[in-house]
Structures are given as structure tokens and as C-alpha cells.
């Protein structure tokens, strides 16, 4: 892992970036006041907290260690994964009953507009 040549990511969110994130997250802007609050808090988090993850003093120690998905090493402690086989839920209607709209055993959603295939 050679990170010395990799530029540090920009740690600032402006209105344009917020709109991009909202689009990705499928969360619409609601009011100028709420968007101002979001920009303020997200930037406070970046400059006061997230930036510390980029502390250059950590570089050597981070280079020398592998990332972990869990704190505890689970590999030797978990049961073997079950067979990859269909295990149908005993009452599918009970699950479909939770959906806002269903028809003939399917979830009903609005049309999805494909920009490309």
C-alpha cells in the first residue's frame, strides 16, 4: 500500500456536493434551513473528527496493519456456513402483508425509467 502519492480527499461539503449526496441517498432537499443545518453539521464532522483519520502521524502504523471487518476474529469461532440451499419462509403471505402494495404475490412499485440498458 503506497499512499504517499495519493492526494488527501477534500473534506468539505458545499451546496453542490450536498445535492449530489442527496441524489445518491434518495433523500430530497426539504428546506433551506434544513439544508443549511446539514451542511453545517456535516462540515463540522469532517473538520473536527473525520480529518483525524487522515492524521499523517498514523501513516506508518496503518501501513503495517491489515484492515479488519470485525474487532473479534470470528473465523475460528463461528459455526460452518449452512448449505447454500433454498430455505423458504413458512408463511410468505405474512411477509407480503407488510408491504404497502402487493398483487398476486408480488410487490407493486411505480415504473422504473431506464436511462440505459
Amino acid at each position: 500500500m503506497d499512499r504517499n502519492d495519493t492526494p488527501r480527499p477534500a473534506l468539505h461539503i458545499d451546496t453542490k456536493r450536498l445535492k449530489q449526496l442527496q441524489k445518491w441517498a434518495a433523500i430530497a432537499p426539504q428546506s433551506d434551513e434544513e439544508d443549511r443545518y446539514l451542511i453545517q453539521e456535516l462540515n463540522n464532522q469532517l473538520k473536527d473528527m473525520v480529518i483525524k483519520v487522515l492524521d499523517p502521524n498514523l501513516d506508518a502504523a496503518l501501513e503495517a496493519i491489515e484492515p479488519t471487518n470485525y474487532g473479534v476474529d470470528l473465523t475460528s469461532r463461528c459455526a460452518p456456513m449452512r448449505e447454500d440451499a433454498v430455505d423458504p419462509w413458512p408463511d410468505p403471505d405474512a411477509l407480503l402483508d407488510k408491504a404497502p402494495r402487493v398483487q398476486d404475490g408480488y410487490f407493486v412499485v411505480p415504473v422504473s425509467k431506464h436511462e440505459s440498458l
Binding site: D48, L58, P67, Y70, V109, V111, K113
Partner: protein, 509 residues
């Protein structure tokens, strides 16, 4: 019949019920009476707070399960009268944070996007407590999708108040669970802990809270916040009760691959006075200098009462034969920054499932296509705290950011884990404060997302490392607010944590 059964611990009530000194129905009715006298209005989606609400606890989310509780209590008494084994928690009224699925019960995660969601199945931990004879009273309030440290971000109001001082927060995100136990509205409760959400409210409300080792307890049926950090654990009146609940909920579950096959000791049997006395003799307890001296973690003026209480606890342990050994956990101040990145990336992914298709709220607005339906549904359904966390998750996991921020945060987690590993080569467990402050006033820091997250700075390292940690009451500050002593142990040594916690509780009674 003894008065005020709500004051008794699960361990005491268990013996009283099984010896037929009291009935499960009498215990249940006493708890229901207690709820009626202190709860006030339980949380609802559109409730505005009135002046009278400021004098009540509001630990629960409406509706409570009181009729089914009465029926279950009746059936427990029948089992006992027949001579059947009713289970080790028979007749014990409990509450669960509304982040756990309970079959045929509304499960909201304190979010309006799940306002009307009724779970078709039980979470494993709830199923196990019910099978052991526990009596479910209701679901407790929390921060929306557990995103907070004060329970103020719940969509369900009135806000939960701290039973010790109702002008203060109960902590969070398991604030309702801690408040219910502290107020005598439940004998015990379940919470979840991703950055300290069991231990911090336990400390603020003056009860015991345990975050087990990652993998010790099944997460099946827990609505995920950050799946690599989430842990399920008990909040109880005392340490023995904590061991009793852990005994019931711990152990491998085929529905959760991350639940481990490690054997489960009989925790209650390990909490005899003789066993605890034996454990304390020659025990090496680590004193992590960063937790007491690093200015990024602790302000000696702000935390003076807390630091004195922890020092008194160390003196008590020394008097019982333990040795206090300084240790270093040098990356502790990076734990919150790493948590900011890892948790946001995971939760942004986890919250994609709430899209108005399979369950939960769907917008009633006219929409032209699927994306518009997603967007309108999520915008209406999520509160501002989930929104800001999802947006941060999208930001730090996007191209150009993920390689540096997310990858470095995962490596930082490994470094924090290594810190603990090295410390546990020298000591048997570690002691520290649970929180840098006692319970803060309602509204004191709500909305300041950095300060709120920072409230977890002494608890989140154990989540990164996956190790078990317990918080237990260790005195009061000058305002009469509870202080939490935190004990942190090596993987799967909940037995040792419980023993050492029990020794303190017994001597400090």
C-alpha cells in the same frame, strides 16, 4: 406479600415467585401500577409535550403489551402450581428497546418510516427471554435508528427523561431501556450497543449495563445500525441480574453467522462470594492512562467528581487484593473519528432497505417513477439525524474518499484492537469511567452532532475492539447524578467482568 415488588431485583423476584411467596400475577400487577404512576404518556408520533410531561419518565413507546403480560403471568403461576419448570426468568417483567423485532408487535426503531410496521417474527434474544418465562411489558424509546446518545432524536414524543433528574437526558440510544429499569417500570431490559448505547445510559441512570463480546449474543431480529459494531446486551438493577439475563441470551444462533460457538458459562453460579473473593486476589486491573490524562478524552475540571469516584473504586479493588497496573491504549483518541467513518458507511448501506417497497411507510404523493417514490418515501420517513448520517456515509464511501477514509478507518479499528490485545498481555481487565460527564440537561447538546457523538468517546473503543465491557453505578456527582464505572475485559471473559463488578457492588453497597 411484600410491598413495592417493583423495587426488587430479578434474582430476588425469581426466588420469591418460584417459592410461591408471591405470584407472577402479583409481580406483574405491581409493575403495571408502577408504570401507571411514573410513566405518563408513552411515546407517540404526533404528541407535543405539555408541562405535565416534564414530571414523568416516558420510557416506553406506545402501545404497551399489558394484557398479554397479564395472561403470561397467569400461565407462569399455573405452571408453578403444576410443578412444571417455568424457566429461569419465570414471571420477571421486562422491556425491550424498540429496535428488536417482537412478533405481532409494532417495531419502529423510533422512526416514522416504521410507524406501522408489525414484525412477523421474534428476534432471537426476545424469543429466548420469553422461553425462559420472562413477561414482556412493552417496547422502550430510543434515538431514531439508534442515532444519538440522549434518546432525544426519537420521532416518538414525549422525550424520555432521566428518572434520577427528569430535567436530564437518560442517555442513549438505549435511553428508554435504562430509564425503565431505573424507574422501576421494568425489572430488566434489553438494549443494543454500537458505540456505548447500553453502557452510557446505564451510567446516566444508575443501573448496570453490559455490552458482551461481539458474537457472544445473536443479532437476529435486531434492526442493524452498523452491523460490524452492534452488540445486544442487558440493562439491570444489579450485577447478578445481568449475569442471569446473559445466561439466557448468550450462545450460538444458526440465524446469525456472527454468533459464535464459544461455550456459555453458567454466569449466575460464578457470582458466589467465595468465587468472587478468589478472583480478586492477585487480579491485575489495568489503569489506562489515556482515559485519565489525554486532554482530548477527559477534562479534569469537568470530570473531577467522576475521576475521584473511579479512583475510590481502584482503592476498593486494591483493598480486596487486586493490583492496579498502568497500561496504555495509545489510539483511543482516534476511536470516535474512525467510528464516524465506519458507522456512517455501514448505516448508509443498511438504511437503503427502507424504500417503501417491502415494509414500512410509502409516500402518498403522486410520483412518476420508482426513484421518485424512493425519494419521497425516505424524505418523509427519516428524521434529520438519520438523513445527516446517511449523507455522510455516502460522502465518505464515494469514489476518491473510500480508499483513504474507509480503508484507514478499518485499519484504525485494527490498531485499537491491537492496543487492547497488548494491554491484556499485562492485565486481566481494564477499569475506567464509562462517560466523561454525568447526564446532561435535555436540549443541552441536541443538534450538535459532533458533541453528541463525543459523549461516547470512552465507550466506543470497546466496540471497535469487539471486547466485552460493563458499566455499573459507582457513586454520585455533586449534583446527585449517577457515575458509571466501566470494566473492560478480554474476548469472551464476561464471567470475569461480572465477578469483578459484583465484588465492587457488594462492597460499595
Amino acid at each position: 406479600m411484600p410491598d413495592a415488588l417493583w423495587r426488587y431485583s430479578a434474582t430476588e423476584l425469581r426466588e420469591m415467585i418460584q417459592s410461591r411467596q408471591v405470584s407472577a400475577v402479583e409481580v406483574c400487577e405491581d409493575l403495571i401500577n408502577r408504570i401507571e404512576s411514573v410513566e405518563g404518556r408513552s411515546g407517540g408520533l404526533v404528541q407535543q409535550e405539555d408541562e405535565i410531561d416534564t414530571r414523568h419518565i416516558h420510557a416506553f413507546i406506545h402501545p404497551l403489551s399489558l394484557e398479554s403480560a397479564r395472561k403470561k403471568a397467569d400461565s407462569i403461576d399455573e405452571m408453578i402450581s403444576r410443578g412444571d419448570d417455568p424457566g429461569i426468568l419465570a414471571g420477571i417483567p421486562f422491556a425491550v428497546k424498540d429496535i428488536f423485532c417482537v412478533k405481532d408487535t409494532r417495531t419502529t426503531a423510533a422512526s416514522s418510516i416504521l410507524e406501522n410496521y408489525v414484525s412477523p417474527y421474534h428476534s432471537t434474544v426476545v424469543e429466548r427471554i420469553l422461553a425462559a418465562g420472562g413477561i414482556l411489558l412493552g417496547k422502550t424509546n430510543l434515538d431514531e435508528f439508534v442515532y444519538g446518545s440522549s434518546t432525544e432524536s426519537s420521532a416518538f414524543k414525549p422525550v424520555t427523561r432521566n428518572p434520577v433528574d427528569p430535567s436530564r437526558v437518560p442517555g442513549g440510544s438505549s435511553g428508554g431501556s435504562a430509564a425503565a429499569v431505573a424507574a422501576g417500570e421494568a425489572v430488566l431490559s434489553l438494549g443494543s450497543d454500537t458505540a456505548g448505547s447500553i453502557r452510557q445510559p446505564a451510567a446516566f441512570c444508575g443501573v448496570v449495563g453490559l455490552k458482551p463480546t461481539y458474537g457472544r449474543v445473536s443479532r437476529w431480529g435486531l434492526i442493524a445500525m452498523a452491523a460490524s459494531l452492534d452488540c445486544v446486551g442487558p440493562l439491570t438493577r444489579n450485577v447478578k441480574d445481568c449475569g442471569l439475563v446473559l445466561q439466557v441470551i448468550a450462545g450460538q444462533d444458526s440465524k446469525d453467522w456472527t454468533s459464535v460457538t464459544e461455550p456459555v458459562p453458567s454466569y449466575p453460579d460464578l457470582l458466589s462470594d467465595a468465587a468472587v473473593h478468589h478472583t480478586l486476589k492477585g487480579l491485575k486491573i489495568g489503569w489506562p492512562t489515556e482515559y485519565f490524562e489525554d486532554p482530548e478524552l477527559i477534562n479534569p475540571d469537568e470530570s473531577a467528581d467522576i475521576l475521584r469516584a473511579i479512583e475510590r473504586a481502584a482503592d476498593l479493588y486494591k483493598s480486596l487484593g487486586a493490583e492496579i497496573v498502568p497500561v496504555s491504549l495509545p489510539h483511543t483518541s482516534y476511536a470516535i473519528p474512525a467510528y464516524f467513518v465506519i458507522s456512517r458507511v455501514e448505516l448508509a448501506s443498511d438504511l437503503h432497505r427502507f424504500d417503501g417497497v417491502k415494509y414500512g411507510h410509502r409516500t402518498n404523493q403522486p410520483v412518476d417513477d420508482l426513484y421518485e417514490m424512493y425519494e419521497a418515501t425516505r424524505t418523509e420517513g427519516f428524521g434529520v439525524q438519520p438523513k445527516q448520517r446517511v449523507l455522510m456515509g455516502m460522502h465518505v464511501s464515494s469514489a476518491g474518499y473510500a480508499d483513504q477514509l474507509y480503508d484507514r478507518a478499518l485499519r484504525l479499528r485494527a490498531l485499537i484492537r491491537l492496543d487492547f490485545h497488548r494491554a491484556f498481555e499485562k492485565v486481566d481487565l481494564i477499569m475506567a469511567a464509562t462517560t466523561p460527564t454525568t447526564a446532561f440537561p435535555l436540549g443541552g447538546i441536541f443538534g450538535d452532532t459532533v458533541q453528541m457523538q463525543n459523549a461516547d468517546r470512552l465507550t466506543v473503543p470497546a466496540n471497535h475492539a469487539g471486547v466485552p465491557a460493563i458499566s455499573l453505578p459507582c457513586g454520585l456527582d455533586s449534583s446527585g447524578l449517577p457515575i458509571g464505572l466501566q470494566l473492560i475485559g478480554p474476548d469472551f471473559r464476561e464471567d470475569r467482568l461480572l465477578q469483578v463488578a459484583y465484588a465492587f457492588e457488594k462492597e460499595n453497597n
